[in-house]
Symmetry: C2
């Protein structure tokens, strides 16, 4: 018996056609050809996807569980996505809902929440994060903002995911300047604030960026797996076991792969220590249930992988910290970006109010 | 005035809120923070996205055109996708509909349709393509199938996009064997049939795969831009100007970026010489209008880029060749995969019937 992944799809169909639709997905996501044209018995037995279960969810939607041979994926995280949803993503009445694995396939996060807490010396409280922006601002201004966040005692500063290697803000200029500002301010506060620059371009470019970051004394970075490609992220995580990776949901869409699966489970599987996602009540439309499921997936015991810390973001405010922590609990890194920056010259004080609010609303 | 891309989104909203939604997208896809917190005038003037037009399409959908600063993208194709749709992809009531560029930004295909025709010595007729599968079949069987396609006079053979570097079919074993089979059969027919293996993994892995392919006498390859990442594809196209790249739509989704834009325009922009897409009337749900628009985008005069040849696929059959060519015209490469393979031991004859049907239904 070949080892199989169990991929669960939600399919809009009617009761008369669902069996054929399910079989169609099983073929599409494996051999992608008529079974009658397959002459090799081992392929029919070990490679073709198999429909394992069909259940009626009501309202014209069915759950279809397909067993996909793990051998079709090998050790390539890009191929994982290709075989789970590649062609079926082209059917707009199908969503990829969940995946169970026969074995972990990939090692997952190098550090996860425990490793991140160890770096900060923060054992139990929720963590804090903010975002450095806007792109296009002079490097000196960005470095100043990073210093203010640090003086306010923030745990993690992440680059805005729009920051790449633009002519107006070269990675090689921007990142060492911001790193120096953070380190200098951190020496004043005594709190080991981390700064995570955003990676962009190819694997090769990102390797150079990580080398620059390491040379600047940094040990974390932001990556958008759906832009970079899963294989690129997988390689960087493997090659840089000293780095913490924060996954950004850019291009992760809302509609076609369930966010708890994509952001909570798959990003972690490919190595995200922390997963940034748009929390309910902010600028995006995820429901509280989606957010709770996503956070649970990121943290849950699963094949021995380190837990990734969920990072609710996307329009969070200081006034909501209590509510956010009531909802997500302390195994959370709360990200407030633009709303802190609105304090302008009071940024360090506003950040300090944020870190205090998180500390007082967390168990110690 | 900074050079700006014009990105058009379709937004489900009501008339009272659409102006605010449009402004929200302009901010989200540029600085991603409250404008009141931006202290740098140059950022406000040159970097923040600007709402250029809002039009009511009826039925609660609006077209919103946003001017996005080209400088935010620089020369990175991954960043193009990030800035066009990164965070806004998380809103399930917004689709990215179209993009106009102030300049080409990227060089596009190295060869396009004209270069592909020159390799084949086929000046005017439509081109033919089939797919090598199933993954998991022994290498000798795959090489045999490739030879049969070639003996039938096919123009292009592409690997099934599910073929990667699996233990049961290592790229380094499979590709040279299939290349040899194609070249030997090609010497018998006198027709220069091309074989395009499928690339997988990281940029580094793909570079090794391209070197293996080149050493095997090949000059084309298949890549799935949404799995590999745009930046990876961009780098490979730039580094391998002798290669023709066929883009596969795996993970291209159906719902959130208009297929004519993503597959017809953006894949070409990043360097696809040929764009494979699921044609109407097959296994997928694209409408005839979507398919016609996609083909038109791939071919149209646009910033001096070479035209990419549209490759309708996904359940095409020999019986439909006349209809397919009536619909798409001769600047097309028709892909019939599984349906040819169903002929089994008659594969070469069935392929020959396919190539004859395309030739007789095309102007010469």
């Amino acid at each position: 018996m070949p080892a199989r992944l169990q991929a669960t799809y939600h399919v809009r169909a009617d009761a008369r056609t669902i069996a054929a639709r399910a079989q169609g997905i099983a073929v599409e996501q494996s051999v992608e050809m008529p079974l009658g044209a397959i002459t090799d018995d081992a392929v029919l037995r070990d490679v073709v996807g198999e429909v394992q279960d069909i259940a009626d969810l009501g309202n014209g939607v069915f759950t279809v569980r397909i067993g996909l041979a793990a051998a079709t994926i090998g050790d390539d995280a890009g191929q994982l996505l290709n075989m789970l949803f590649g062609n079926t993503s082209l059917h707009d009445d199908v969503t990829l809902h969940d995946v169970e694995l026969p074995s972990p396939l990939f090692p997952g996060p190098s550090h996860g929440e425990p490793g991140m807490r160890a770096r900060l010396g923060a054992a139990t409280r929720a963590l804090t994060c903010s975002a450095l922006k806007p792109q296009g601002a002079p490097v000196a201004l960005l470095a100043h903002l990073a210093a203010q966040f640090t003086l306010g005692g923030i745990d993690w500063i992440k680059d805005d995911h729009g920051m790449a290697d633009q002519p107006y803000g070269r990675f090689a200029d921007r990142v060492p300047a911001c790193a120096d500002a953070v380190h200098e301010a951190s020496r004043r506060t005594g709190h080991p604030t981390r700064y995570a620059p955003s990676l962009s371009g190819t694997l090769e470019t990102m390797r150079r960026q990580l080398a620059l970051a390491r040379a600047a004394g940094l040990d974390s970075a932001v990556i958008a797996p759906m832009v970079a490609g899963f294989a690129t992220m997988q390689a960087l995580v493997r090659e840089n076991p000293d780095f913490v990776f924060l996954a950004h949901p850019s291009m992760a869409g809302a509609a076609r792969i369930a966010p708890p699966l994509l952001i909570g489970r798959l990003f972690r599987l490919v190595g995200a220590d922390a997963v940034v996602f748009p929390s309910h009540g902010g600028r995006f439309g995820y429901t509280p249930q989606t957010c709770a499921d996503l956070a649970a997936r990121a943290r849950q015991d699963w094949h021995g992988l380190a837990p990734a810390i969920p990072v609710p973001a996307g329009g969070m405010t200081l006034a909501r910290v209590g509510e956010i922590l009531d909802f997500y609990g302390p195994h959370t890194m709360v990200l407030i970006g633009g709303s802190l920056l609105e304090a302008r010259e009071r940024l360090a004080a506003e950040t300090a109010a944020f870190t205090r609010a998180v500390a007082t609303n967390s168990p110690r």
